[in-house]
């Protein structure tokens, strides 16, 4: 066991830091997140720059335009990049979910998108969730019917992150209602410019609209846009969902304890023993996340699938987020719920607090994750399912 950088890793880290110092802006107290409509083009431009200088797709296979390095190297680069203002947040779906799925299941033609993503030319969104299918994603009812060599799609999707900015989407639709729910789903690539697609922003409590509802009316998708086999979309989707969980967990230690300590100092509470206790707890959670991260990365670099570690880390991360926000809200006191320009450090704490549901729900609710953990981690038998083997069309609605 050796947590430190090997000499090769240390050299790479130094090289990364030097390049970043020259090409990016170091984070400071004055750093503020960009509004969404500026953040998306900025992230694409940053990705293009990374690609131009050879820092994109570090651990991706060379065949897909990557550098073929170990995943430890890309983590090192991300650790260094996290100290700068430039982020790739809006590209999470594209780089973290779509690209790995296309690498595993895409046709050669479809895989050509990967290079475009790597160059920062494409933004993708995910059209999976539906108003009637949340945790039970496979119950989805958006229909796709084959007409010659074109699929005609009708239905409604929800929680489409950045749908208003995306050029492409990955879409799950039901192509055979006469078989059990998991067996009649197909995975498509859809062009978001198709006239049948209408994206409507969902205003959240924060007043922002990160998410959208997406209405699909006679959307026409060419047959070659099916990823994997027709009716086998569920197994393709599993790759995407596993990648989603990794990117949420991999969000890193998230709210750094330093930021929380600063808030405590700023509000004059850093010496309050109760607050200090909470700061120390935050530190403990963050140490655990960091150490869990070591395990995930070690497994990944040895080509083991870090499934259990990832699940644990995702749940630990959600707990950390919620508990940290509670401390922050306590520190902000009567001012915690001031909105808009009146808020203290508004762009940081309050929306993050109100958005905690996204951490808890995204990539599967805590409850669903714990059930999976019971099976994978503890070898517990599954809860009996009441809908196994029943054709989708015969399920109660």
């Amino acid at each position: 066991m050796d947590i430190g950088d090997s000499p090769e890793e240390a050299a790479f880290r130094a090289q990364a830091r030097t390049w970043l110092e020259a090409h990016a802006t170091r984070r400071s107290d004055a750093s503020r997140p960009l509004p969404l409509d500026e953040h998306v083009p900025a992230a694409l431009a940053w990705q293009a720059k990374l690609h131009k200088h050879g820092w994109a797709g570090l651990s991706w296979p060379e065949a897909f335009g990557g550098r073929g390095m170990s995943s430890v190297m890309s983590t090192i680069f991300n650790e260094e990049m996290a100290q700068f203002e430039q982020t790739l947040g809006p590209l999470t779906v594209s780089l973290g979910m779509v690209a790995p799925t296309l690498m595993a299941h895409g046709s050669p033609d479809q895989q050509r998108h990967i290079a475009s993503m790597l160059r920062g030319e494409q933004l993708w969104c995910q059209l999976f969730s539906e108003p009637g299918a949340g945790s039970d994603l496979a119950a989805l009812s958006t229909r796709a019917v084959l007409d010659g060599d074109t699929w005609i799609v009708n239905g409604q999707k929800v929680w489409t992150s950045l749908g208003q900015f995306a050029q492409y989407g990955i879409l799950l639709a039901r192509t055979n209602p006469d078989v059990p729910k998991h067996k009649g789903i197909t995975y498509f690539i859809v062009d978001m410019a198709d006239p049948g697609i209408e994206v409507r922003p969902l205003v959240q409590m924060t007043g922002h609209a990160h998410f959208n509802e997406t209405f699909l009316t006679d959307v026409r998708i060419p047959a070659e846009n099916v990823v994997g086999d027709v009716n086998d979309g569920w197994s393709v989707a599993r790759t995407t969902l596993t990648s989603e969980r990794s990117s949420i967990a991999g969000g890193g230690a998230g709210w750094s304890v330093e930021t929380l300590i600063e808030l405590a100092q700023h509000t004059g509470r850093a010496n309050d023993p109760i607050i200090r206790q909470q700061l120390a707890q935050a530190h403990c959670r963050s140490v655990a996340l960091t150490a869990m991260g070591y395990r995930v990365r070690t497994a990944a670099s040895r080509k083991r699938m870090p499934g259990r570690e990832m699940l644990t880390m995702k749940l630990a991360y959600a707990n950390h987020w919620v508990a940290t926000m509670e401390t922050a809200m306590t520190l902000l006191g009567g001012n915690a719920m001031l909105a808009g320009d009146d808020a203290i450090a508004e762009e940081r704490w309050q929306p993050a607090f109100l958005n905690q549901y996204a951490i808890r729900l995204g990539g599967g609710t805590d409850e669903v994750q714990k059930n999976i953990m019971g099976e994978l981690g503890l070898g517990l038998p599954r809860e009996p399912s009441t809908d196994r083997g029943i054709a989708w069309k015969d399920l109660p609605t």
């Binding site: 945790s135 006191g333 009567g334 719920m337 320009d341 109100l354 729900l361 609710t365």
Partner: protein, 364 residues
């Protein structure tokens, strides 16, 4: 020993519930949120049935009832997240009636709905409302007030504000006309659309508007804390009801969400927290009206209100999944109210710290 409501208290509870469910329906609440966050029609209706004067003396057109009755009204408001400054105006007017009986005209105006009064009690920083920072200096017939108060509820719509201040090292209450010279009000946006304002004072009032009676600030804080806790109880009830309805009807994996134990257990935890809050709020309200020293009972209820409400509204939110945060669904208002009220006069940890000091001192 009888923990059931009296007939009179029961009438208040039913009247309030009826009024809010008629006049504070979701569509109307939304409309008011998009305006200035104060439902004047509802306010007038509350005045017309006598609920704004509920706790004022009969001489001021009131019904002379007390905290147990006010808790019923506040609870019904919370259940419907109705946008009116009930707690602020009624508790402030109770303190005025008790300590400044000469202000009969103002009391009548608050009872008939024509004027709103409020109290400025929260403090900046660690928010310890028991130790005011506004300085009051008596100079003959006049009192000079200098200082600031953050996030005062209903300030932009109030005609008068009762300000907690310190005079000669002791707490006092000063009644200030919001339109007077030297009174600066900066209106604030809050996440739950409730009107609030920062108050800056560099002004003078008549000495007859200064209350230096022992325990006056404590008494007002106790009433505000418990009336606010009662609103939170209503907020919890509403949140739990929304969540129960949602999980009973929403199906996943071929059965309603409520048929999953993880869901039931979380909903049951929210139910228990709500019941703990209900019991402690009623107890504290009664102790304020009848007890010797209600401090420990008030702080206990305030703790359950801050800590428990946060748990309950988070659970309700979580059980709604993504829908919970969509502003087109009503449950998010309960969440925002729960969060807003929880920190208003100190957090759960602040209540515990004060209570810890109180019981350790009483015990020794």
């Amino acid at each position: 020993m009888n923990f059931d409501l009296s007939e009179e208290e029961q009438v208040v509870a039913e009247l309030a519930q009826q009024l809010f469910s008629d006049l504070a329906q979701t569509e109307r609440v939304k409309e008011v949120e998009e305006a200035d966050g104060f439902d004047r029609d509802l306010w007038q209706a509350l005045a017309d049935v006598g609920l704004l004067g509920l706790c004022l003396p009969q001489s001021a057109g009131g019904s002379g009832m007390q905290m147990v009755a006010l808790a019923q009204l506040a609870q019904a408001q919370g259940r419907h997240v109705a946008p009116v400054p009930l707690v602020a105006s009624i508790t402030a007017s109770m303190a005025i009636a008790e300590h400044l009986p000469a202000e009969a005209a103002l009391l009548t105006a608050t009872a008939d709905g024509s004027e709103v009064v409020t109290a400025a009690l929260a403090e900046a920083g660690a928010n310890n409302p028991w130790v005011p920072t506004v300085r009051a200096t008596i100079d003959g017939e006049s009192v000079r007030l200098v200082g600031t108060k953050p996030a005062v509820p209903a300030l932009p719509i109030a005609s008068h504000v009762l300000v907690s201040a310190v005079v000669d090292g002791r707490p006092a209450l000063a009644l200030v006309d919001t339109a007077a010279e030297g009174v600066t009000i900066e209106a604030l946006r809050t996440t739950n659309h409730e009107p609030q304002g920062h108050l800056t004072l560099d002004t003078a009032i008549d000495v007859r508007r200064l209350v230096t009676t022992d325990g006056a600030l404590d008494g007002l804080l106790h009433r505000v804390l418990i009336a606010t806790s009662a609103v939170q109880l209503g907020v919890c009830e509403g949140a739990v009801a929304h969540a129960a309805a949602h999980v009973s009807t929403r199906e996943q994996f071929g059965r309603p969400l409520s048929a999953f134990q993880a869901v039931t257990q979380r909903a049951a935890d929210a139910y228990i927290a709500t019941e703990a809050l209900r019991s402690t709020v009623l107890n504290a309200a009664w102790q304020i009206d009848n007890g010797d020293d209600p401090t420990a009972d008030v702080l206990s209820a305030a703790y359950w209100a801050s800590e428990g409400t946060q748990k309950v509204v988070l659970a309700a939110q979580h059980l709604h999944g993504g829908l919970g945060s969509d502003v087109d669904y009503p449950v998010h208002r309960h969440f925002l109210w729960g969060m807003q009220l929880g920190g208003a006069l100190g957090s759960a940890t602040a209540h515990l710290a004060r209570l810890g000091h109180h019981i350790a001192t009483s015990a020794s």
